[in-house]
């Protein structure tokens, strides 16, 4: 699928993969000061793992250096001045420094070199630059260190992969620095560095710093609890009295989660026991010594909604879903009517530039009845999510059984229709009888017709965007990824140089209109917009389904279907109103002729 703008941003921010020399965080040791006397190369200050990386990089650099001419004394001086002026070429600086040809020996020169290298950190993703900075950081003053920290922090990749090394170097960044410390605590990737440093003896917080560290860890629930447990067990940190209550609260929660997991491992007795205990709790004649009773009572105390939801619905929930409820893994938000919506999410059904989609059971307000759906959670809220919420409202107002519809639209996520057994039309044909596949195709056409009737375009029709849901009375077909674009809102725009017509919707090139077709439609979009989704439908047939029908139907049946699509693909049909329903009628005749089993 062609990325939308929000997806493009996501892609741009992703760092390119690095190869070869990743360091295992847990195995890093605090470096000892073993710089050989008289050595001008401070890389001995860096722990061995880091040095290994630097050596590997240096090996490569040296190989390259051999191929370069050595610098004359005048050229060396010129390069030094270029660095001081911030005008040197980065690759040259790294190569010449590592080959010993860049003479930056005085404190002032070294600070200038550090400032120069730091200024390049933001957009530089190879490791030789941070490795060189690692060598130089013992010479950095406080201001330079703040600059280095800032540059590393700003770049997500460097923050995640490189930053911790700068704390492990003797004379490197100090995690106790107030600014560094508060910044590290502000983000979980930064926070995750501190336990590593604590285990290495580099981070020894005391007083307020220790308290804020432990408090911040526990704000991150299970991650923080387990990390703190590890540090306490390893006698790296004490558990402060100020956080003891929170810590014990989490401990109880996770002990209970384990208890329920054990309990659920024996499905034969699970429901029976839950019935008995739930009733006894509701009737207030429970046994205070029974572990299951106590665990349920604690759940009630922690989260009465989860408790009530569980005892109301346990007989219809899977073991995984019950476990999810007792672990308290849910999203919660409010809809436009200010009703609370809580979605207990289990499996991830998919992920992409938009965010993630989870299978969920959800409850609305005080209504404890069991509802199933697929919760779609954006990576970030903002313009695109607001637009998605609006689109979901539009599709919901159409009230179509052939379009996947939002069941709950909240400020933070949207719950769409779903079922326990869902297949995409791209996958299903290999698993379902051919009759069901044909019926799904016909059902999908109903969805396309809903769009066309209202003068809207789906724009991204393909097998993956059509789902088959198994409900009690059989399979249902729905079009998903509904982002309806109204024809009168403008389907196209022109590129800046007016050379190209650009689509205003997300699409998948293999299934979408080409430039010539776009030009034709754009010339009279009001009358020809039908072509956009019709062309996708035709491509889907050709690419994903034609062969299947040919192999699984009689030649006569196949010929009716293939002739119908050939007719549909004619220019006089493809772009006109009603053609899709005529196609559907032709397919329907074959469908009705197929045996039911």
């Amino acid at each position: 699928m062609e990325p939308r703008e929000d997806q493009q941003k996501d892609t741009e921010e992703r760092m390119p993969p690095m190869t070869g020399t990743d360091l295992e965080l847990p195995t890093l040791d605090r470096p000892t000061n073993k710089r050989p006397a008289g050595s001008d190369k401070p890389d001995a200050d860096i722990n061995e793992n880091v040095t290994n990386v630097a050596e590997k990089v240096s090996d490569v650099l040296e190989e390259q250096t051999v191929q370069r001419n050595s610098l004359s004394p005048e050229q060396r001086e010129e390069l030094r001045l270029q660095v001081l002026a911030g005008q040197a070429e980065l690759e040259d600086v790294i190569l010449r420094y590592n080959s010993g040809e860049l003479d930056m020996i005085t404190p002032r020169d070294r600070l200038a070199l550090i400032a120069y290298l730091t200024s390049h950190l933001k957009h530089y993703h190879a490791e030789d630059l941070p490795d060189l900075l690692l060598q130089l950081i013992p010479f950095a003053d406080e201001r330079s260190k703040a600059m280095i920290f800032g540059a590393l922090w700003e770049n997500q990749y460097l923050r995640r992969r490189i930053m911790y090394k700068f704390f492990l170097v003797d004379g490197g960044l100090d995690p106790h620095d107030e600014n560094f410390h508060s910044t590290l605590l502000s983000d979980i990737q930064g926070l995750d560095i501190l336990p590593l440093l604590a285990q290495r003896g580099v981070y020894k917080p005391k007083g307020e710093q220790l308290l804020s560290f432990e408090k911040t860890l526990l704000e991150h629930k299970r991650y923080g609890y387990e990390m703190l447990t590890m540090l306490i067990d390893q006698k790296v940190l004490p558990l402060l009295d100020e956080v003891r209550w929170d810590y014990e609260w989490y401990k109880q929660l996770y002990d209970d989660a384990r208890f329920f997991r054990d309990f659920l491992r024996d499905p034969d007795t699970t429901h029976e026991q839950l019935v008995e205990v739930s009733h006894s709790i509701l009737n207030e004649d429970h046994d205070m010594n029974a572990p299951l009773t106590m665990a349920l009572l604690r759940l009630q105390e922690r989260d009465v909604d989860s408790f009530l939801y569980l005892i109301e619905n346990y007989d219809q929930l899977s073991a995984d879903e019950i476990q999810n409820i007792v672990e308290g893994i849910f999203f919660e938000s409010v809809d436009d009517d200010d009703q609370k919506v809580r979605a207990y999410v289990t499996d991830t059904l998919g992920a992409g530039g938009f965010g993630r989609v989870y299978r969920c059971k959800y409850l609305v307000s005080e209504d404890l009845s069991l509802r199933s759906g697929a919760a779609k959670l954006p990576h970030v809220k903002g313009y695109f999510f607001d637009q998605e919420r609006e689109n979901a409202e539009v599709v919901r107002s159409w009230n179509s059984e052939h379009l996947n519809t939002a069941l709950a639209i909240t400020q933070d996520f949207i719950v769409f229709e779903s079922a326990d057994n869902v297949k995409s039309l791209r996958r299903a044909p290999n698993e379902l009888p051919i009759r069901d596949t044909l019926r799904s195709l016909i059902g999908m056409i109903d969805g396309v017709a809903e769009y066309q009737e209202r003068k809207y375009v789906h724009g991204d029709l393909k097998g993956e965007n059509v789902i088959l849901m198994k409900l009690e009375d059989g399979w249902y077909t729905q079009v998903i990824d509904n982002n309806p674009l109204a024809v009168n809102d403008g389907l196209y725009r022109t590129s800046e140089n007016n050379q190209e017509i650009l689509k205003n919707w997300a699409f998948t090139p293999d299934f979408s209109t080409n430039a010539e077709q776009d030009a034709y439609i754009a010339a009279d979009a009001e009358e020809r917009f039908y072509g956009i989704d019709n062309i996708s439908l035709y491509r889907m047939y050709k690419l994903d389904m034609r062969e299947l029908f040919e192999q699984n139907l009689t030649p006569e049946q196949f010929s009716v279907i293939d002739n119908a699509f050939t007719w549909f693909a004619q220019g006089e049909n493809l772009y006109r109103e009603g053609a899709v329903l005529e196609l559907q009628e032709k397919l329907q005749s074959v469908y009705e002729s197929l045996p039911t089993s």
Partner: protein, 193 residues
């Protein structure tokens, strides 16, 4: 040297099947809480010992399933799904430059036994796609996690070393990925015997 703990259940020495299932359930619960997809806490996990892991496979999967764990009916089905991926789907899941590990996870992401139908359908066979930070997702968990790092070292090892992990090259087609996955499953079968 820091020893990962596989969460609070952890301790050095042999792990029982229940401890392994708890470690998986605890880890995945932690990851599920990190809803924005930013996963941290690699220090908290360590590879299971192969024998312990085999113990969990035997404990949590039915005997009849264990005996036919990687039978063609299961393996061919999943590999055909991979082979049929279109180029975009393939790139989206089997990200070029990442690693892929074929393995068996004998419990659900909640650390609970798979139900009978799931076992019959082979929903224990997972293809983990692993990024440069060892963060993985797989066919039954798009949730980012360090589940790959919890796999026995023998399974994490490269195909060429008899392991079950291979590089996904930018030039790999879906059929190439399926071929490597089949080789990885071949090694996996030997490892789990």
């Amino acid at each position: 040297m820091n020893k990962g703990l596989n969460h609070a259940s952890g301790c050095e020495g042999p792990k029982s099947p229940k401890q392994i299932a708890d470690a998986i359930g605890d880890h995945m619960a932690m990851c599920a809480e990190m809803k924005d997809g930013e996963i941290v806490g690699k220090q908290l996990v360590e590879p299971f010992k192969l024998n312990d892991y085999k113990g969990a496979v035997h404990e949590f999967l039915q005997k009849s399933i264990v005996e036919r764990l990687l039978e063609p009916r299961i393996v061919d089905y999943y590999l055909e799904v991979i082979e049929r991926l279109n180029p975009q789907e393939q790139k989206d899941f089997f990200v070029p430059g990442f690693k892929c590990c074929a393995t068996v996870v004998p419990v659900s992401n909640k650390g609970l036994p798979l139900d009978e139908q799931s076992q019959i359908d082979g929903r224990y066979l997972r293809f983990m796609v692993v990024d440069e930070f060892d963060v993985s997702k797989d066919n039954f968990s798009w949730e980012h996690s360090f589940l790959y790092k919890m796999q026995p070292e023998e399974i994490q090892a490269d195909l060429s070393e008899g392991g079950c992990t291979f590089e996904i090259l930018p030039t790999d087609s879906a059929v190439d990925v399926a071929k490597k996955a089949r080789a990885a499953i071949g090694n996996l079968e030997k490892r789990l015997q």
